[in-house]
Amino acid sequence: MKSVMIYLVTRTHGLHAHLLTREHYDILARARDLNALIENLLKSDYGPEIGKISSEAANASALNRIFYSILVSRIYFVAKIAPNRIRKFLVTYADRYEVENVKRILRSKRTGRKMTSDTLIPIPREYALINFQAMIEAPTLEDSLDLLKATRYSEVSEKISIYKKHEVQAVLEALIDKIYFDQLLDSIDGIPDEEKVKEIVGTEIDLRNIGTMIDLKARGVSPEAILATSFKSFRLKEEDKNQIATARIESVPDIVARTTYQGFASNLKSIIEENRIEQLENAILKEAYAKAKSISGRNPNSFTYVIGYLAAAEMETRNLITLSTAKELKIEEEKVRNLLYL
């Protein structure tokens, strides 16, 4: 292993030590209210940022923004210390936050509702390739999409007819996700521990692909459009995707059971049969995160560990968002625990 790689992995081990542990989550989940949760977080890496907001302004919304800003700074920090080839992959990986921002802007453009850039995930200037402000100020959705023509999302404008045929925002978002995940899968080629990284990232892509197809099905989108917006597969065969796209939602778990993801199929089956479809995305992320955690845990001295750290950092953000919002809404501890990615 090259010395830069050793440095990156060692440094990531150090960074990983800053992440919250299961014990931390236990304490946070038991916190009697949002103030108690904030008290506990003041002792963590989030302390300095949370300390900057006044107690009156300390609500779940303000905290959520802090969690995202710390996440983004963590991920770009890893990219910054990584060797060139790996940095390119890590920056592509971090583009998921850019994707989220693009989606948020396009949603407001669809209805013409006003939005401000402070509701976007803060991306460091040197990595921001899209002019979000210009997209926000664009008068219509079409104008906003025009601004994407000169970016890596130019394919959205080319395939806009699929969206126009259905006029469903989820189709537009699936197109953007497709561009992102396709590029992410391609960017893995040639990086260290390629196979294991593909196993982690590819699993996430395949599972999200299944989730997106079910989501679009639930909205009555045609099989042709579902296939046109489906992502490049890692282990999912074209035939599997075709079957998922054309089958009824109830039959999807049986199709998934015949793929590499048979372990997830039983969970998917119970979600659909018990009419808990709203838990689909949570289940997919839990499965993908468990995979990342298990592979990176078995390979602590390789680049895979870095990917495991990125996934863990993202899940930490999701967990903190869930905990802070749940405390504000006074949701029972047991219900909150079910949502956490541990």
Binding site: N64, E100, K103, R110, T111, V168, D215, Q279, E281
Partner: protein, 203 residues
């Protein structure tokens, strides 16, 4: 309305009889209106029983919203809401038997399919259905309130006519009739007396 003593003339009697007839007819019309109003209320009452279902729908929608809100956080949740058009309703009052009743038309229903993320899509569907049902229920409740108010007023009018005004008219008509008969009898006896006097002088 006060009905005082009237001069006992045939003209007055005729006028009083006409007024009594008109008032009785009015009372019949008001009674019909009262029955119809009661009928309308009876027709709408079963719909009010849906209130429990609507409350349950709201409970479920809020539980689902709480779950989705905590899973996605404030910014993601409100951004997802940005993708959906606002509900647009127009109030167009209609008049039934002189009662102005609210009628709410949903001009634009929000399309939950526009809400990204399957969890938020499910929540949005539940919330939109609950809001639609609540609007329908509120319209029914407002209609019943207006009809009930009109029913009470009509009932008061019917009672006033039936128990006070019409009996007084009848009494007055009877009084005038009695006076006229009395006057007729008096005139007859005077005439008879005069005729008898004339006859006596001739003899």
């Amino acid at each position: 309305m006060s009905i005082g003593r009237a001069t006992a003339t045939k003209g007055v009697l005729q006028k009083l009889r006409e007024q009594l007839k008109f008032t009785e007819k009015s009372m019949d019309v008001l009674k019909m209106k009262r029955d119809q109003l009661a009928g309308e209320i009876n027709k709408l009452l079963p719909e009010i029983q849906r209130r429990k279902d609507v409350e349950k729908m709201f409970d479920e929608a809020f539980e689902s919203a709480k779950y989705a809100y905590s899973a996605y956080g404030y910014d993601s949740f409100s951004s997802a809401a940005d993708a959906v058009d606002l509900i647009e309703a127009r109030a167009s009052p209609t008049t039934v038997m002189g009662v102005t009743m609210p009628e709410i038309d949903l001009i634009r229903k929000p399309d939950p399919r526009q809400v990204p993320h399957i969890a938020l899509y499910v929540t949005a569907g539940k919330l939109i259905r609950a809001v639609e049902e609540a609007i329908n229920l509120a319209t029914v409740e407002a209609k019943i309130e207006q009809l009930a108010r009109e029913l009470m007023e009509t009932n008061r009018k019917v009672n006033a006519l039936e128990k006070v005004i019409i009996p007084k008219y009848r009494e007055l008509v009877k009084y005038v009739e009695d006076r006229l008969i009395e006057e007729d009898l008096q005139e007859f006896s005077v005439t008879k007396h005069v005729r008898d006097l004339i006859r006596e002088r001739r003899e």
